[in-house]
Amino acid sequence: MTTTATAARGTGAGDEGGTPRRPPGHDPGPGRAGRVRSRLYRWDVRYSPYAFVAPFFLFFAAFGLFPLLYTGWASLHRVELAAPDDMRWVGLRNYTRLLDDDFFWNALGNTFTIGVLSTVPQLLMALGLAHLLHYRLRAANFWRVALLTPYATSVAAATLVFVLLYGRDYGMVNWALGAVGIDAVDWQSGTWTSQFAVSSIVIWRWTGYNALIYLAAMQAVPDDRYESAALDGASRWQQFRHVTVPALRPTILFTIVVSTIGATQLFGEPLLFGGAGGQKGGASHQFQTLGLYLYEQGWFSFHLGRACAVAWTMFLILLLIAAVNATLARRLRKSH
């Protein structure tokens, strides 16, 4: 989604001007020099920004746009990893086969449920935490930094720890459950338990990050709104609901979009949670996401063409989500 937006903007940047250069020849006269200088100045103002953003777009074209388009082209072929140059045209077959591919629909469903399981609690908790942090607290900076530490941890390290925590035989979660008299749970084997476990890793990593974004937005809300709400007799909770949340609406929308993109592309957490052969996402593919299915197709079964088709389908799903989001956002704006 972001890619198309940037690509559209990128087309305008094709004719970026060079850096202004002094014309050859020495100072031809005060009047002319002034004109030249002012023209250079105008060019500088008008074109320099394009020169400054150009490196990004050049890199984007090479490492973003080209792979995107080539993936689309490859998805219309039968390509195997053993011979990537041997491409045989199959038209839309890689896409039509996805329609009755149970593994694909299972992965799509898992991506959705894990997405909901992780995003909804994550954003609600982030909002709550941001609200708490917004109060005057002792050691406010400490709490803020602490919130961000999970985000700064690598996926691999975090997931490894979670795998140990959720272990069936020797895991700490089951040990704690046992202490209160609950039988051990085989977290990885169950559909809901495994999806819950994967979601909890996502929640753990991203809640703090979103909380800080909310906190920044909260600090931008003028104090007088709270004062007048307090004068009207609004309680803290009412202030939160009727002042804070409406003021945060654009920020909330932003975090929803970003989290949705992240959830659609979820890959590292379930892969590592699955351990050896994690690309399958469990014995019954109970936590195989679209990202994992793509990886399994391309790098385990070696069917690059089919993997490309999954990649493009994911891309189209994101476009769809973006369109729905944009419509919702427009509705929201109109209603205010």
Partner: protein, 441 residues
């Protein structure tokens, strides 16, 4: 080096995952990586031969590189290692296709050798006619596996994986079973069914908190690798849906799982490692490369508790090859090094350090193998046990999608029965569906 399922030299999940991601990125970016780091060692006119491997081949640890460099002062050897074959092999494929980023010598695992010897054979040098190579040095079936229809040999055999059974003497004693390795071997000699029967006997008097074996998939792998035709027949036809080998091995594994003989673990995962440390199971099917793994995971507490007995039937699980890509920079030097590394004398030295069983039978009579005893396993004569198993291994027929098919049985079907409690019938159907989706192009 690994068999048709799973990777057996994984040391840590994290490392593996990092390697997997590195492999993914490497594959996309077609990077040269360390493997391509060119000619000349510091401008001294030396040739740098690069060798790309996965897991732990042990050449470096056994001092073979250093020895070769002493013999050839104008050569330096650089090894680049990727932890897991399932990250290593896809990267090798992309590098072969791109014709760049290749090491001068590339390792290939047995599960992938068929694909390399058929579809990719044109991209590798024919080593059968290289100077110093004697076909008769190798086990015949090992040589065949890396040879294409035209008789070109694209890889020289390194190690093989003859299977034994590792067992805990302390648990066997408590369960009233014999503990002497000869007597234990006799318990199940000739038939894996007897191994399951021994498991039933163990269960009746099992020490608290222990079971007979680690996993249904482990039983399946040990059994299936004894059959010449498993997933493909000799004509190359896929027979995974009704091959007798698969059916018999599947039934054994189901019996083990349903009979409560397994610890319901998945091999090469953290809980499996922890189970070693906690003495959770009494036996495990045990190719030579497993000995080091057990020693590491069971630790000092397991010393002299474990021992090695002969398996019911001779079988091969894992093993590798090394080949020289046509696009290699120093082909002639690389071929010389590959030939030297796989010669019987060097394979024997490697066994001494790494317990990798040579694929060259003449090594078996060399002192490093013949007289080898493993101190951790109660001084078991591992060299003789594995060499005896190696001599009777049948010629295994290997097909192109060996790895995907094997994994579907062990990581999908049998895991569903073992861990998720699904019925064997449903799990079988799921396995077949999994394979159809994986092999369909």
């Amino acid at each position: 080096m690994r068999g048709s399922t799973g990777t057996y030299r994984r040391r840590a999940v994290v490392l593996g995952a990092v390697a997997a991601l590195a492999g993914l990125l490497g594959g996309c970016a077609r990077d040269g990586g360390t493997a391509a780091s060119g000619t000349g060692g510091g401008g001294s006119g030396k040739t740098t031969i690069t060798i790309g491997t996965f897991g732990v081949f042990g050449y470096k640890q056994a001092g073979l590189y250093a020895e070769y460099e002493r013999l050839h002062p104008d050569v330096t050897i650089k090894e680049s290692v990727i932890e897991r074959n399932d990250a290593y092999y896809p990267q090798l494929l992309t590098h072969l296709a791109a014709g760049g980023g290749l090491a001068d010598i590339q390792a290939v695992e047995v599960a992938n050798i068929n694909e390399v010897a058929t579809t990719l054979s044109g991209k590798f040098e024919d080593l059968s006619k290289a100077a110093g190579v004697r076909r008769s040095d190798w086990l015949d079936w090992k040589w065949q596996q890396a040879t294409d229809r035209k008789g070109r040999t694209v890889g020289l055999g390194t190690d093989i994986g003859p299977i034994a059974v590792c067992y805990r003497k302390d648990l066997f004693k408590k369960a009233g079973l014999p503990t002497d390795r000869e007597a234990v071997g006799r318990l199940w000699a000739g038939d894996w069914q007897k191994y399951i029967d021994t498991g039933q006997a163990y269960k009746k008097r099992a020490p608290a908190g222990t079971v007979f074996t680690d996993s249904a998939a482990g039983v399946y792998n040990a059994s299936i690798h004894a059959y010449p035709e498993r997933y493909y027949d000799r004509r190359g036809k896929a027979i995974y849906a009704d091959s007798p080998a698969v059916k018999a091995s599947w039934d054994l594994a189901v019996q083990a799982s349903r009979g409560g003989l397994t610890a319901r673990l998945k091999q090469f995962e953290k809980p499996w490692d922890q189970a070693y440390a906690n003495a959770r199971f009494a036996t495990v099917a045990c190719p030579p490369w497993m000995l080091g793994y057990i020693k590491e995971k069971a630790g000092a507490a397991g010393k002299d508790k474990w021992d090695v007995a002969a398996a019911p039937r001779p079988a091969n699980w894992g093993g590798s090859f090394i080949g020289v890509p046509k696009a290699a920079r120093h082909k002639a030097e690389a071929v010389r090094l590959a030939v030297w590394l796989t010669a019987p004398a060097q394979q024997a030295k490697l066994f001494d350090r790494q317990a990798s069983i040579p694929s060259t039978p003449s090594s078996y009579d060399m002192p490093q193998v013949r007289d080898a005893r493993h101190p951790y396993f109660g001084g078991a004569p591992t060299g003789r046990i594995f060499a005896a198993a190696a001599k009777n291994i049948p010629t295994l027929v290997i097909g192109p999608d060996e790895q995907q098919i094997g994994t579907a049985f062990t990581d999908i079907g049998l895991l569903q029965i073992d861990q998720q409690g699904r019925s064997p019938r449903a799990a079988w159907k799921a396995t077949q569906k999994e394979i159809e989706n994986a092999v369909d192009e």
